[in-house]
Amino acid sequence: MVKNISFLLNGISKNFNVDPNEKLLDVLRKNGYKGTKYGCGEGECGTCTVLLNGKPVYACLLYAFQADGQKIETIEGIGTFENPDKIQKTLVDEGAVQCGYCIPGMVLSAKAMFEEKQTPNEEDIKMHMDGNLCRCTGYVKILSALQKISDENKKGVN
């Protein structure tokens, strides 16, 4: 049975025909939103992170129908190549991106963190980012880049 669902995807209302058993990750990727990566498929690695009503969730665990009527943000809705989001720019500037596979998920988790708290400390950053694995083990630079944004927020730097 195929059923229709609709949700706000990166600010635009979208309709999708989905199999009730399909995960949101599969629906997104099938429809061209390939910035949401497939990693472990069992809620461990965080490469499939999307924002559900502003909060990071694993798209590999979420059934697509659970997104019906909700607000979903993927990496495609965060900045562009020409005009990157502050988090994206800082990660690049700080040399925090290695293979890059984990970065879309990292960016989305960080975005939700800064929405909740503009000036997170090290403990806050580690807690908010604990669901995103970097297989290159590049955590030090990722964490320091996020700490830099927090420090700039504290100083009121835009």
Partner: protein, 280 residues
């Protein structure tokens, strides 16, 4: 994992109950849905009855208690703030931020997994559970897998926990291999003090057990004693010898029993500090 072949969104509690009766074994109540990942043995086709839109997602308080709606996710418990609310400290070390944003507290306590932290905490706090058909205390609720005791149309509505007031304290410990890993051993202690004297204590153990249990003999030995750092060293842990523990991550059962003692000692110490208003 079960195969979802259809989904429905009840708009009211009454409608959800009606659907549960109508679909029977062909229906599966879903809120956060994270536990479905672990139900790999179920290959049956189900209609998902998604109750996530029902108005059961708020935390309220009265003089002595907090009432937690069953559809609050773990992150709601992390970010909630009020005098006497200690559950943020537990919520922030549960799994990962993504899981905390998906897992509802109702699902977390209804279908127990060995790693679930909150059932252990609620058992120690003597929480009260309100469903559409009954009110039960934690000792009764956690006698077996809670969802197995639900009637066909029964839905958990809320969980009530006491406020941590002056002279009372909650101490929580868990063992994990990595920060975001599954808890392999969880101990929670809820304590009331009169000066240094322990007047009331409930200690719950999980992680190495699927259904959490209270360590009632340890509790008995602590009540009426004045607390000092070596108090727990003089306590007999005979009752854990009879428990069939499920050691994880390469632990032997003996090592697991040793860790139970260490974590009970630490959780009681934390609860005492909490009761005295000292930072943990």
């Amino acid at each position: 994992m079960m195969k979802i072949t259809n989904f429905v969104f009840p708009k009211t509690l009454e409608e959800a109950q009606k659907m549960l009766l109508e679909y029977g074994d062909r229906g599966a109540l879903i809120s956060g849905g994270t536990s479905l990942t672990y139900l790999k043995e179920q290959k049956t086709e189900k209609t998902a009855i998604n109750i996530s839109r029902l108005p059961l997602r708020e935390i309220t308080q009265n003089n002595n208690e907090f009432h937690i709606g069953s559809l609050n996710v773990i992150s709601d418990l992390r970010t909630y703030s009020a005098t006497g609310w200690e559950l943020s400290k537990v919520a922030k070390i549960v799994s990962t931020e993504q899981i905390r944003n998906m897992t509802t507290i109702g699902g977390n306590v209804s279908k127990l997994f060995y790693w679930s932290e909150f059932p252990v905490v609620f058992l120690s706090l003597g929480a009260k559970f309100k469903t559409t058909s009954k009110n039960v205390d934690a000792d009764e609720f956690f006698k077996s897998q809670p969802f197995l005791s639900y009637a066909a149309d029964e839905i958990l509505l809320s969980i009530t926990v006491p406020k941590i007031t002056k002279g009372t304290g909650l101490g929580f410990c868990k063992d994990v291999r990595t920060t975001a890993g599954l808890s392999t051993l969880t101990v929670s202690s809820y304590i009331k003090l009169d000066g240094d004297k322990i007047t009331f204590v409930r200690i719950a153990l999980g992680g190495c057990l699927t259904i959490p249990v209270r360590l009632k003999n340890v509790e008995k030995q602590l009540i009426g004693k004045s607390y000092n750092e070596s108090l727990c060293d003089s306590v007999s842990f005979d009752e854990i010898e009879s428990l069939k523990l499920l050691p994880k991550e390469g632990m032997s059962e003996d090592y697991c029993r040793h860790l139970v003692k260490v974590n009970v000692k630490d959780s009681v110490s934390k609860a005492v500090k909490n009761a005295k208003g000292e930072s943990i």
